[in-house]
Amino acid sequence: MSKKIRNNPLGISMDRRMFLKSAAAGIAAASALPVSAADAFDINAFLQKHFREMTEDEIKKVIGRLEKEASLEWKKDVRISAAKATPGVKFGYGLDLSRCIGCRKCVYACVSENNQSRNPQVHWISVLKFKKGEKWIDLENSEKYYNPKEVPEKDSFYMPVQCQQCEDSPCVKACPTQATWKEPDGIVVIDYNWCIGCRYCMAACPYGARRFNWSKPNVPANELNTETHYLGNRPRYKGVVEKCTFCIQRTRAGKYPACVEVCPVGARKFGNLLDPKSEIRYLIENKRVFRLKEDLNTNPKFYYFFAT
């Protein structure tokens, strides 16, 4: 008794009994594969939905799973927040080029706040050095590896570059999986569980602000910042892209980004672009301001200014 279930062009015919038998054998074989606790395959990770399509409950479940995973791995209580953007807030950043002395304290404060890989090294901020008085906007001719005894050096000025949080972000347009998007408060974020590591966004970014994890991020357990955000500084995976998020875990909790707090000369300013009384609005209205590569129409929310 061999009843055809449906027409099939390959001409494979299989009766019900045979199908069940082979399916059972297949499941048995799969479950017999050696699985260690560390890289246990969680079906929920595979079935996770896009972050913006998840309900509150689903987000809570995902965060619970990720917190458990991270806490197991780092043997520390890692907290992952999913704090939403506050309505009426759009973040803007100001950087005073007349004050920056190029000490790179922001670079390393960012690394420890945001759990970047130490080796291989990942930095979200690049501090570029230019000669005063020369044509300097050719960013490719700037010096990034300067290493004098003391800064500032004579006849030089410095320009830190990080994610400019563009309103019309080329990276967001380039992403084939919509793993990166602009949040309502203007921060461009990445879902590390949705990123497939194609690096199209890195090619699209005119500011070189995005970084790729070529290997599993290497962070000493005692230096891990355990206050994290799902879209920000939570521990990342190998093969995903990351970048500055204006310290989303701090700024959505009302605090200044880590780079603002560490800057010894107070060159870095931060605030709400929609609040007319904010520092950022004051400097845009009263100082000489420019944005990097304005001609590309990316509409950055990162304002370089001269306070003097």
């Binding site: 590896y145 004098p148 200044y256 010894p264 300013k269 904010s278 520092e279 004051y282």
Partner: protein, 177 residues
């Protein structure tokens, strides 16, 4: 009126004008100090007083010498590099206090009023949160630093510091096996 009395009358007029303007100026400064709203509330603790504070522990026994000279007995650590041609100690110091141009004495923790006399635009930026470092909350309580937290008032130029190490060059980045 003869020439002489005209001259004296002129001097008196000018003198009265100057006195009036001085008084008005002082009133404006006092008013600015009273108007606390635009002065930030949160400061870092007072900068640690140097070893020679309070001044009165020696200066009550010394006559005031306003002559510019090299200090050899005390305050040898202070080098004045701040419009030193025009300035001497007693232009800003008096007793245990700081002295404004109008003669008003203020405490050391209000030193921003002293600096703000000349650096008005910077003072304005500082009050708005543009000049100098802020920590705390971007929409809420902020901690402001005093001018003297970053600038030595006698040598105000920001001192160079050692930079952190440069980033690795791509060629030096090795993947861990």
């Amino acid at each position: 009126m003869n020439r002489g009395s005209k001259f004296i009358f002129g001097i008196m007029t000018v003198g009265i004008f100057f006195m009036l303007s001085l008084a008005v100026g002082a009133a404006v400064i006092e008013k600015a100090e009273e108007k606390k709203d635009d002065i930030p509330k949160f400061f870092v603790p007072k900068p640690p007083p140097s070893g020679s504070f309070p001044c009165s522990k020696c200066h009550t026994y010394r006559a005031i010498d306003k002559k510019k000279r090299k200090l050899e007995l005390s305050h040898t650590g202070i080098t004045l590099k701040h419009a030193e041609e025009q300035r001497w100690c007693y232009d800003c110091h008096e007793g245990d206090k700081l002295k404004l141009q109008n003669g008003q004495l203020i405490d050391f923790d209000k030193s921003y009023l002293l600096c703000g006399q000349c650096h008005g635009t910077i003072f304005r930026d500082w009050k708005a949160g543009i000049h100098g470092k802020r920590t705390g909350l971007w929409e809420g309580e902020k901690v402001y630093l005093l001018c003297v937290s970053c600038h030595d008032p006698h040598q105000p130029k920001y001192k160079p510091i050692e930079p952190k190490e440069p980033p690795m060059k791509p060629a030096d980045i090795k993947l861990k096996k």
